[in-house]
Symmetry: C2
Amino acid sequence: MSKYKKDKTTEEKIMEAARKVFVRKGMYGARMQDIADEAGINKALVHYYFKNKQKLFEEIFMEAAGKLFPRVNAIFISEEPLFAKIEKFCEEYISVVLANPYLPLFVLNEMNQDPVYFFNKLWSGKQRPNPQKFLEQIQEEVNKGTIKNFSPLQLLMNLLSLTIFPFIGKPIFQMTLGIDELQFRMFMEQRKKEIPKFIIDAIKK
Amino acid sequence: MSKYKKDKTTEEKIMEAARKVFVRKGMYGARMQDIADEAGINKALVHYYFKNKQKLFEEIFMEAAGKLFPRVNAIFISEEPLFAKIEKFCEEYISVVLANPYLPLFVLNEMNQDPVYFFNKLWSGKQRPNPQKFLEQIQEEVNKGTIKNFSPLQLLMNLLSLTIFPFIGKPIFQMTLGIDELQFRMFMEQRKKEIPKFIIDAIKK
DNA sequence: ATATTTGTTAACCATTTGGTTAAACAATAT
DNA sequence: ATATTGTTTAACCAAATGGTTAACAAATAT
């Protein structure tokens, strides 16, 4: 195969390598040389496509955050009834993250290092997470008496916890219980149905 | 105050500084100079007390993990009935972590970088987390018919998710909802009772 | 008092790391 | 064919970083 024939553009090769390295090692632990090696190219070429480490990192981080947050928001804002929303959220979110199981810990961890900076960087207005409508919807159901008197915020936290946390604790669970990739996958597939059932059983009158 | 009169021993001053820096920046992001500065001493003195960065980090990491894991295990193993166990776990765990809210993300994130290494480092036999008894206990209750037919593993995951995740998402929640330290604290205090109620409502027949 | 051990520092060193440069190489335009 | 533009590399550089050294100061033993 000729040296300069490439199915993936070089830029995408770098992105792919950077994704892998940044996600595994974080912004500080990642080395530009690692990224170049992973992409099978010269380090200077990484700088040719992306000005510097910070810029490349931001690209990767924004991409990752962009996979996680808008989806939450879309469901928060939609017009469906509460229970359907909960079901849909679990279904969709677990599907997305199963395809990139490392995303939540990566994003949460990096955000933790400088929440204010990332918060501004991420949501310059548009796709900022806005759970207001979802919270109001819960309150309405409480008022209607269809569900128990429940703090909307607590319920929101429960939904997010049950859905996202397993991905964050994944390595520990896998080591502790000796389960492999496939078993974890099946466990999470099961959870798509289990979580809504669990929540609804807990809150419905 | 004389130069060599110290209320805290130097070693503890270093540990304290290292805790702060490592937890904020992680193993790779932390700089020995930062730690020395934070402790108000010369960098060489850090090396005098702790051979190198790796050793110091392990000290801090083991200490952090030691605050989180044995407590889980103690409750898993104890003889109490299931519902009491769940209540006790939430109560105790949230109390511990409220005193060090940064611990879960720190430990989970570092473990993620090399799960096998940390797993061996941490649990050379004794305090290895062992949820077996807890899982059996759930199965017993299912068999007795006191709770719904529920996968023990799913229930365990639910308990851990609901308890631990809020601390991991803390910065995002605080920014998104504009809540301060005190409000978060109160929210988690409320959760000590809310989580067991939530779980028990969901699983009891 | 004095020798010895322990604690602390400033200066230094080797290596790593992000980033640059200049030249070679390929593709494209003329 | 040749000039021009865009892509890639090897070699290099300055700054940062983990770690060491040698000397000095304090505490302790003799």
